[in-house]
């Protein structure tokens, strides 16, 4: 996924649903080949007041897509005179990612809260399919943590448990994936709004002694 001259996020991204909202998280590394072009990237992107997306793949592609969806959704929301649904945002991503699948390298997780279905996580992997999941992981770093998330996830976790689960998972991925690193950016989205948090290098959850 990385190439000389081509800026990519190889990345670890994650989102978890809980009763009342979602928790989203990502690492902060952007690479051009092996050089870290940005070590404090924000991959958690605002789409609407209660809807964010986590971006993995090509930085340029995902930024362009997010810009388009942001515009489309805010227009739609004004027409509707209502906050938009997470499912709507996710489907807008899907339409773009499926239509231009040959030209894009984008793996996106859309997560947020709406009045109709509460906290929701939708994943739009490369290829442009869409599926709702109770939690989702993505990016190159995600391969290293499938075992961890499968064994640690429990349905019905609280917001705090979800934050811990997400931070642990991303930390483990960052440890093993050369394309993920930096700080952990977290956000919790509920009816009340968005609460952002950053976990810096020194405070990262630690698992190995050496």
């Amino acid at each position: 996924m990385s190439g000389r001259g081509r800026i990519v996020f190889s990345t670890t991204i994650m989102a978890v649903e809980f009763d009342g909202g979602v928790v989203i998280g990502a690492d902060s590394r952007t690479t051009t080949g092996a050089y870290i072009a940005n070590r404090v990237t924000d991959k958690l992107t605002f789409i609407h007041d209660h809807i964010f997306c986590c971006r993995s793949g090509s930085a340029a592609d995902t930024q362009a897509i997010a810009d388009v969806v942001n515009y489309q959704l805010s227009f739609h929301s004004i027409e509707l005179d209502e906050p938009p649904l997470v499912q709507t945002a996710a489907n807008l991503f899907k339409e773009l990612c499926y239509r231009y699948r040959e030209d894009l390298t984008a793996g996106i997780i859309v997560a947020g809260w709406d009045k109709r279905k509460g906290g929701q996580v939708y994943t739009v992997p490369m290829g442009g399919m869409i599926v709702r999941q109770s939690f989702s992981i993505g990016g190159s770093g995600s391969t290293y943590i499938y075992g961890y998330v499968d064994s640690s996830y429990k349905p019905g976790m609280t917001k705090e448990e979800c934050l811990e689960f997400t931070a642990n998972a991303i930390s483990l991925a960052m440890e093993r994936d050369g394309s993920s690193g930096g700080v952990i950016r977290l956000a919790a989205i509920t009816e009340a709004g968005v609460e952002r948090k950053v976990i810096l290098g020194s405070e990262l959850p630690r698992f190995t002694v050496s």
């Binding site: 499926y98 290829g127 399919m129």
Partner: protein, 215 residues
Amino acid sequence: MVTGTSVLGVKFNGGVMIAADMLGSYGSLARFRSISRLMKVNDCTILGASGDYADYQYLKQVIEQMVIDEELLGDGHHYSPKAMHSWLTRVMYNRRTRMNPLWNTVVLGGFYNGESFLGYVDKLGVAYESPSIATGFGAYLAQPLMREVMETKPDLSRDEARQLIERCLKVLYYRDARSYNKFEIATVTEGGVEIEGPFSSETNWDIAHMVSGFE
């Protein structure tokens, strides 16, 4: 891209049964373990797809809209399984000719005017009907099993069809590295469409005790 493995289909006395596991693979990774690859088209037709899941979702969207549009015409007509199969064949062949295929192999089942229908269409636009159909790995492992049963007994009961399908799904789980032990079964009869699941096969690993070392 995310892909689905085998789809099985078998005709029985009074209807047709289609089965597929609930896995979306991302290369060798068993990424999505609860996705449905079977859909109800209308009261007399069901469809199962293997191959690219995003292309299946696109097809599903188009077909569902077609069925709605037809309902809105209000002329009392519904797409027959054969008509749907014919349409799908044209779509798949056309996309193939434009060098932009829908990367799927589709199994279409139906019951219309007292007759069972079971058809196949793939990404090249190859299409045919048969009393039993299996895509992907199923073509190598399940089809011989299904044909063996149906050659001696062409008219299966619903239960016999179910047993045959479940036996085939078990073998596929044993031998297909991209399969998953969680599946759905769709049945279409005079009474309409039923999609049941998720189910899992009972597996037997006793032979493991009989093997030790490699010689």
